[in-house]
Amino acid sequence: MRAHLLRPASASPSPRRWLGFELNILRRLKFSTIAIPFSGQPDLDWYLKFWGKEVHSNDLCQWAWWMARAYVENRDERLGGEQITQLLEEVYVPPRRLDNPVLSRIFNELDAVWFDNLRGAIERLDSPYHQALAISHALMVGVYSLSFPPERNNLKRPLSDVFRQYIRQQREIHDNGRSNRGSNREATEFIAQVEADLMFTRFPSPEGYAAWSCSGADWKEIWVRGTSAEWEALRVNRQGRLGETVLSKGYYLELVAQFLGTARRIPMWAIAHTEDGFLSIAELATLVREFRRVEAIYHKDFSEVVGGHNTYLLIAR
């Protein structure tokens, strides 16, 4: 059995987030509006919305943006029985050819058909928030599908059943009375224009989006966009921006500094950082001090277990 422990990393990127730790600190801070330029899966964003904060959630990836629309921006729309029927009634019908042929390299044949048909059915929903919810649930189904290597397929359920289960269990959609927004912009452009009194960020790794793509974990983006071409173009056009692949600490810090220079207009920063051997918290704090006072650094030690790290949250204002 030991060999199973050495299996390659799963198809979705392991989040380098520590939600409980981060929320625990954010709730100590006084703020009304928060900007999150590199949101990823908007779990923290969702919590903050329910704390009554105005949340401006941004990510360059469209899959993350759709999830933010579903859970952050959406005020009260839910998928009803009619929409669910519309989405799933022909989802297993084999098409003459896949609209998104890349899916056949990601999923097995049956699942590729399911995802391809579902994407088309989602396009036909009227409300963008119904679309966003359907995309969010489908993304979770994708994680489910990719959790089963062929030798474990005996445990795998029909994807439509899992999709329905996720709809039943979906997070509460709550209108907190604020103008919460999801954006799909370059982070620097987003942060240059958003109005907020706190920025929460966890910077992209030095490997950037390219590493994510190379690992095969970019299936979410390929499915949401319907093609891999645009995503490839976005990835290639990142030179000189945080999120491109960098090979040196000096260059990485230069990109971070550029970003922080733009973010200077936001009064308070909360910067999450996990030490993984590349950049220490001391080096990051030194850089931040070039812009403003570091008020506190919170620390949690998860390093005892394999894959765990020392993680920090730096507060500056």
Binding site: M1, L23, V143
Partner: protein
């Protein structure tokens, strides 16, 4: 004939701590209204799974400590809703979600290994990333915590609770199987199901030997799920259910999300047609929905959880 179960395999130097944890677990069982000792049952099943994954030495000891102490956080704050039937309110659910963090702190106070503390913190993380408290996903969740999640659920489902009776083992297996890839690591589920199948076969063989029944009277069959799903390799015969009738057996609504196994409020009525409707995962229940203005209970200030460092400090205070 009654055969006492062998003691859990702790090294001599750790035995006293194990005994202390068993004692505390008994207190937790009383608080939660359990008739049967949950933590020791969980530790035994955890041991079986850990052996399958070839965990040894301090790793195994830490995992067994975590199994015994996984609900130390529940013991800490003794909530009355633990004994109540019916779904929890959003506020109660968020309150419940604190218990892994409180458990981690309790484990630290008992000077349990840091590995154990973290396994307790993460024993409610879900494979799909929607568990709590940190939202870890897939292999980012330590294997020990993934084992605990599956074993904890199976033990909870097959034991009486104040709000429901124990499920039939096959029903519990089906629920666990259905949550593979959602709440549970499919690899761990596969190992558990294989073990339970082996146990059933072993017991059947023993019964044949004791009763002299013909072998085909206890033949183990396999059910085929209708529809597109590949067949689930679950036996359709047991001492309690009898032979398969060809009809799917109803499974009562239950929760695998937590032990305590309450299920928070549910979604639209018109979508609640599935008897295997399981508890919503972590991030589904804001307390502010029903209690506007109240402080969120889940992640309230916990001593030692997030030590602050003085201004511009280079000396980050150590976490536990």
């Amino acid at each position: 004939m009654f055969t006492p179960e062998p003691p859990l395999p702790f090294p001599p130097g750790e035995r006293a701590m194990a005994d202390r944890l068993i004692q505390l677990a008994a207190e937790t069982d009383r608080i939660e209204g359990y008739d049967q000792p949950h933590a020791t049952a969980l530790a035994r099943l955890t041991l079986v799974l850990a052996n399958e994954f070839e965990m040894y030495g301090p790793d195994l000891t830490a995992l067994l400590f975590a199994a015994l102490g996984h609900d130390l956080g529940v013991r800490k704050w003794k909530r009355p809703y633990l004994l109540r039937s019916g779904p929890l309110s959003w506020e109660e659910t968020l309150d419940l979600w604190r218990h892994p963090i409180l458990g981690e702190q309790q484990a630290a106070e008992l000077h349990l290994p840091r590995h154990t503390q973290l396994l307790i913190r993460w024993h409610h993380e879900w494979w799909n990333g929607q568990g709590y408290p940190d939202g870890l996903a897939e292999s980012a969740i330590p294997l020990g915590a993934r084992i605990l999640r599956v074993a904890d659920t199976y033990c909870a489902l097959t034991a009486d609770r104040p709000y429901r009776e124990a499920l039939d083992p096959l029903e519990a297996e089906q629920i666990v199987a259905d949550q593979a890839g959602i709440e549970f690591d499919p690899m761990v589920v596969e190992v558990l199901l294989a073990y339970l199948q082996q146990e059933r076969e072993r017991r059947a063989a023993e019964m044949i030997e004791q009763t002299g029944l013909p072998e085909d009277a206890l033949e183990i069959g396999f059910a085929e799920e209708p529809g597109l799903a590949p067949p689930l390799l679950l036996p359709v015969f047991s001492e309690t259910t009898g032979p398969d009738t060809g009809e799917p057996e109803p499974v009562p609504p239950t929760s695998t999300a937590a032990d305590p196994g309450h299920s928070p409020g549910e979604a639209d009525e018109d979508t609640l047609d599935d008897p295997l409707d399981l508890a919503p995962p972590l991030l589904s229940t804001p307390s502010e929905v029903t209690y506007p203005g109240e402080e969120l209970a889940l992640l309230e200030d916990l001593p030692g959880e997030t030590p602050a460092v003085p201004h511009d400090g280079e000396k980050e205070e150590e976490g536990r």
